[in-house]
Structure formats: structure tokens, C-alpha cells
Subunit: 237 residues, 2 copies
């Protein structure tokens, strides 16, 4: 499906409304991407001012979600969209919930960053945070890119990236449990770092959910509980 | 808003479709409630057969979600619902995502139960699990009841119950950190129990999200990021 498919409406205003809701969605995605990046930078650089600003900005994400939801209700009520327009509205309606929760996780990371900053000393597990956060950021970027270009194949790539992140997350968590056993005084600090890793892993899950919605949009197929083989077949057809 | 409001349609078939999607939603909620109850019973009674069956049943919840989603797309495409019908469709569309994730958390609890069963010995933190799970179960029950009767005041009660659960969760977590420090050999087992508590806390968050959707349905107000005072005002008006 190409962008032009959305340009066949008799009403130019309806076209504008659809374009607008999609561009608001992408703008919200861009802000969420920035929030995740800033939150992890705040942690790794022990930058507590940046951590505070991430927490402040979360409100803007919530407002964007509410705004897009209102646009969606308006379009559904007035325009009675059908076929691919309807799928786009539904996919965006579900995806903004995931974006908003990704924003919540960024705020959580920022809170952990702030309390870890105050304790000084850089604790164990930061290497893992850096590594997994790099993967998660690439994943968010590719997911938004896939959405901007209605690219179902790239969305499938995002789904597979999530599976890798889950694996890395489990490995990192096991390593941190070992650290805790070796040095019980570090338990509470290491738990904070584990919380950051969990937030990153969950950001990946939400990005995957959005990728699945994009496949629904482009292919009309529900791949939420499908295996990778099943998804590959849906994409071929 | 009373149930009868949904009975004013010229098309009897449209009425039936709306009734059906709502009753499917409530049935899905009933299964999720049972899954959470069974998962926690499996943990507390060290019943690994029950834990296995909870994990199996998760598939049914996923299927119910997909089925309801299809009904919603069909209604939006064919019936062009407006006003309170449209809000009901939107509220249910968002709420089934939360129900499905509550189901995921129940399956996670069941997995933890299974591995904790195998280790024998009842670990610390079970008292807290029992206590918080009782609150969470009451909360799910009241949330579904509120949905069945379009009761916005009861939905508000559910929102407040979530705040209490969050508080209890934080207290329980702090106690478990102390246990771990006292007995580092228990770390990995106590972490499993902390995971169960986190799942319960998250089930509460999802139930709250659904309660917020119900207030949107009944009052047309978006209370997702509102304070309790703001919600109370919306409910008076």
C-alpha cells in the first residue's frame, strides 16, 4: 500500500484529516524516541538535570495521546472511514496507547537515573544498559520509519529485533543476579539497574506491538499471536 | 447512561451486534479474572498442574481478543456507529488490549509458580502475594461489574483501589529487598516472588485503565491523566 492510496477521497478535507492524524502520530513517536534516548543518556552520563526534564516532558506525550484520540473519535463519527482508511485509524488508535506506555517507561528510567546519580559511583550493569538501549533505539527508529512508509517488511524486521532484545535482556538479568549474590550490599542499586533493563525490554515489546499494528494496516492480517513463520507467509501473500 | 439507551436503534440487528460485542467483552473479562485467581492459587498451593493449565488457557484469551477486534472492525465499517455507541465500541476496543495483557501477567505468575513449586519450600513474600492478590481480584471483579452496569462511580472506586495497591506493592517490595540482604542465597527465589508482585501490580494498572475507559464511555470524559479531584468533578457534572 502506498501513501497515494489515501489520496483518493472526494473530500479534500477528509484527506487532510487523515494526513494530519498520521503526522501527529509520527510526531508523538519522534518525541517518545527522544525521551527514551534522553532517559538512557541521563543514566549513563549521570545527568540529573536531563533526567528531570525527561520526567517533565512525559506530560506532553500524554497530551499528544489525548489529542490524537480526539481526532480519531471525530473522524470515526463524521467521516465513517472504510477499508484501508478505517484500518489506519484503528492501527493508530491502538498504537498511541503503546507509544504512551513507552513514554511511561522512559520516565521510569529517568527516575531510576536520578536516584542512581545521587548515589555517585557507577554501578554494575551499565554496559548492558548501554548495549540494550542501543538496540531498542534502533528498533524504535525503524518502527517509525516503517510506519512512515507503510513498509510491512520492515515492520517484520522490528518484530524479530524484539525477540533478540528479549534474549539479551534475560542474559543481562542473570549476570546481575550473580553480582547481587557476590555483593549483597549492592542489592538495592542493582535492582534499580534491573528495573532500567526491564523498562527497555518493555519499550521493545511496545515497539513490536506497533509493528504488528502496521502489518494489520498494510496487509489486513492480525499477526499479534503468530509465529515468525506464519508472519512471513502472510507477508508473501 | 442506562442499558436501555443502547436499544433505540431502528435496526434490531445492530442492537444485537452491540449487545454481542459487549457480552463477549464481559466473557473475556470473566476468563481473565479466573486466570488471575487460578495463577495465584497455583502459587500459594504449590499446584503445578493448575499452573500449567493457566499457561495453556492464555491462548483462549488471545483468541477472544482477536475475535472481538474483528467484530469491532465489522461494526465500524458497516454500522457507522455514533455518539454513545461509538464510545462503547472505542472503549471496548481499548479495554480488550488491557484484558489481554492482564492475561499475559496471569500466565507469567503461573510460570513463576511452576518454577517455585519445583523448588519445594515456601519462600518469603507469599503472605504479601496473598494479600495483594486478594485486593487485585476484588478490583477486577468490581471493574467488570461497573462495566456490566455502566457505573461510572464504581469505576472511580476501581481507580482509587489501584492507588492503594501501588502503595502496598512498594511496601512489600521494600520488605523483600531486606530479606534478600539478610539471606543472599535466597536472592533468585525472592526475585521470582517480586516478579509475581509486580505482575499483580500491573494487573491492577490494566484494570484501572479499563475503569478509565468506562468513565469515557459513560461520561464522555477522558480521565486518563487526571487527578482524583478532577475525576470527582467530572463525575458530578
Amino acid at each position: 500500500m502506498k501513501r497515494e492510496d489515501y489520496r483518493q477521497h472526494i473530500s479534500a478535507q477528509f484527506n487532510d484529516e487523515l494526513d494530519e492524524v498520521r503526522s501527529h502520530f509520527l510526531a508523538m513517536g519522534g518525541l517518545v524516541e527522544k525521551q527514551v534516548t534522553d532517559a538512557i543518556t541521563a543514566l549513563l552520563d549521570a545527568d540529573s538535570a536531563l533526567a528531570a526534564s525527561v520526567q517533565d516532558n512525559d506530560r506532553r506525550i500524554n497530551q499528544m495521546e489525548s489529542g490524537i484520540d480526539e481526532e480519531i473519535v471525530r473522524i470515526l463519527a463524521r467521516r465513517q472511514p472504510a477499508a484501508s482508511d478505517l484500518r489506519m485509524i484503528i492501527a493508530i488508535g491502538k498504537s498511541i496507547t503503546d507509544l504512551e506506555r513507552m513514554g511511561d517507561e522512559a520516565a521510569k528510567i529517568a527516575r531510576a537515573a536520578q536516584s542512581l546519580c545521587e548515589e555517585g559511583e557507577s554501578p554494575r550493569g551499565y554496559l548492558e544498559c548501554r548495549h540494550i538501549s542501543n538496540q531498542v533505539r534502533v528498533m524504535i527508529h525503524e518502527m517509525l520509519d516503517a510506519f512512515a512508509h507503510f513498509d510491512a517488511d520492515q515492520a517484520f524486521k522490528v518484530m524479530k529485533a524484539d525477540a533478540e532484545i528479549d534474549l539479551e535482556y534475560r542474559t543481562a538479568t542473570r549476570a546481575l543476579v550473580t553480582y547481587m549474590m557476590e555483593d549483597p550490599r549492592s542489592i538495592s542499586r542493582v535492582l534499580s539497574v534491573m528495573g532500567v533493563l526491564r523498562s527497555l525490554e518493555r519499550v521493545g515489546d511496545h515497539a513490536r506491538n506497533i509493528a504488528e499494528q502496521l502489518i494489520f494496516l498494510v496487509k489486513g492480517a492480525d499477526v499479534r499471536h503468530a509465529t515468525f513463520d506464519q508472519v512471513a507467509k502472510k507477508l508473501e501473500s
